[in-house]
Amino acid sequence: MRSFAAVAALEDNVIEVQGLTRYYGSFPAVRDASFKIADREIVGFLGLNGAGKSTMLRVLAGLLMPSAGKVMIGGVDATEAADALRRRIGFLPEDPPLYREMRVREFLRWVGQVRGCTKAEVESELPKVIETCHLDEVADQVIGELSHGFRKRVGIAQAIIHKPQLVILDEPISGLDPRQIVEMRSVIRALKRTATVLISSHILYEIAQTCDRILVIHKGRIVAEGTEQQLSGTLGEGTRLSIAVRGKVANCEEVLGKSDVVDGYEVAPTDADIVTISVTLKGDKREQLVRELVEAGLGVRSVQDAMGELEQIFLELTRQAGAPAAFESKQSPKHHPEEAQA
């Protein structure tokens, strides 16, 4: 058993998970998961509902013990020193755990102390946390009277009041309106300055917006990991673009057919004289293709990177792993509804 002092003295905050498996009864919620997370990295756990994200985060937060495998935080086995490690971890579940009858400031003071800080430490940290989470205007209000967005922020504040080195946020933006989502994003990015941050979400765009790296989870297994670009790279070479052009379908087909940089294409008229081209290039040679289109007298109205769309990557990865293709993609400007329903 490692002592509190020994664990608190650890500087390395690398998380190493090897063969993590977690059963609920006979149901394996997480199966043989292995990954490594570097210090001060924001990592997103992406998966459908029921994929095992929350279970994985709860094991990392020390709320659940693994059925098999190892979780090492800063080189310390999490099962061996669970109580001491909890001092270094801040956790926000999907529904923020709040005592509704308490006032925000009073609640945060209590949480800070119960997580091992002295009164003086909590008092010095409290103004910073209130500022980081934009809670100034409600700091003296009763939690039960706050809006959902503010409660979520109080939830994040309770997770960071004790200055944890690892912050775990389970679906931090669920139920927030667009303005609150933008604010929450800035709060999460601010956390990176002092802590490693793990986020789970089934909202693909959000994960891409806030995370340095993504772990794709399906049926309890990690089916892929990497940055958005790395994940798209696992699906094949080449650049896929979606181009809107003013001109005739036949003219477009002529240019694309002659081009040396085009590997494959589809042309579809969308409006009176607007044509949408879906094209796969031999490498990233989009400038050359655009030049060829313009030189042929076609008006290029927009060029979008279709391959980088996380929805597409996610669909493909989970399809490869045998997943149902149903997921949510809120707020995504790149989102194609017909793809989501596919």
Binding site: L63, D83, V114
Partner: protein, 241 residues
């Protein structure tokens, strides 16, 4: 110890802010007062010591009910509302969580028991009764509250809902109260075991009549200890389930 006191402080504030603590105390005082007048004092002449004995008999029942009502929520409610995550994710040992919850419930119980003192005080002023009898009776009540509060805490620790916790606590308490009946219809060694477990007949009756027996004190304290340890063990086990 600090963690336990922090949990206790929060829970105590919870009792006071939610009105639940006030409601239970008020209900118990009203019932105690009514039964004290109707049953303990009555309309026939009685010895003061008999009145006090009857008062502690009444208080036995109301103390058990109050303990169950207060403790059925302590852990089960946190589980229902999801706030259990706050203490689960804190660097607290399971005994600190259980100890803090138990301590806060006991503080409310001691205040409630203390507030019933007006009734024996009336007998003391107007009749002839010894201090010792009253002290012994109150010691019995506090020990009873300690044991039943531990039973209630255990029931709350193993239940997902407050109702189930309350039902379990009632069943366990009833078992300990009627164990003397089981002793009557059992053969040794079960007879001796049930007889020893008899909360009222063997261990509380003495306090009612003003007698303090070390064996009874040990029984109540060990009953409380066993159920608190069980609660703590259960809290630890839930991380593995």
């Amino acid at each position: 110890m600090r963690g336990m006191l922090l949990v206790a402080r929060r829970d105590l504030a919870g009792y006071l802010n939610s009105m639940w603590g006030y409601a239970v105390i008020a209900a118990v005082l009203v019932i105690d007062g009514l039964l004290f007048n109707a049953f303990a004092v009555g309309d026939q002449p009685k010895l003061s010591s008999k009145v006090i004995e009857d008062f502690f008999f009444i208080a036995f029942g109301t103390t058990i009910v109050a303990s169950i009502l207060l403790t059925m929520r302590v852990i089960a409610e946190e589980r229902q509302t999801g706030t259990i995550v706050l203490i689960d994710s804190a660097p607290l040992a399971d005994w600190q969580i259980v100890g803090g919850k138990y301590l806060s419930a006991m503080m409310v119980m001691v205040v409630m028991i203390g507030l019933t003192a007006s009734m024996p005080a009336l007998v003391f002023v107007n009749g002839k009764v010894s201090y010792g009898h009253i002290y012994a009776g109150y010691l019995g009540l506090v020990l009873l509250a300690a044991a039943v509060t531990a039973i209630g805490t255990f029931a709350s620790a193993i239940s997902r809902s407050q109702l189930i916790a309350g039902f379990l606590a009632v069943m366990l308490s009833v078992f300990f109260v009627i164990a003397w009946m089981l002793a009557k219809v059992s053969d040794p060694p079960l007879k001796d075991i049930f007889s020893y477990m008899s909360l009222f007949d063997r261990h509380y009756r003495g306090f009612m009549t003003g007698k303090i027996n070390v064996e009874d004190i040990v029984f109540f304290v060990s009953l409380a200890f066993v159920f608190l340890v069980l609660s703590s063990r259960f809290m630890a086990a839930r991380r593995w389930r």
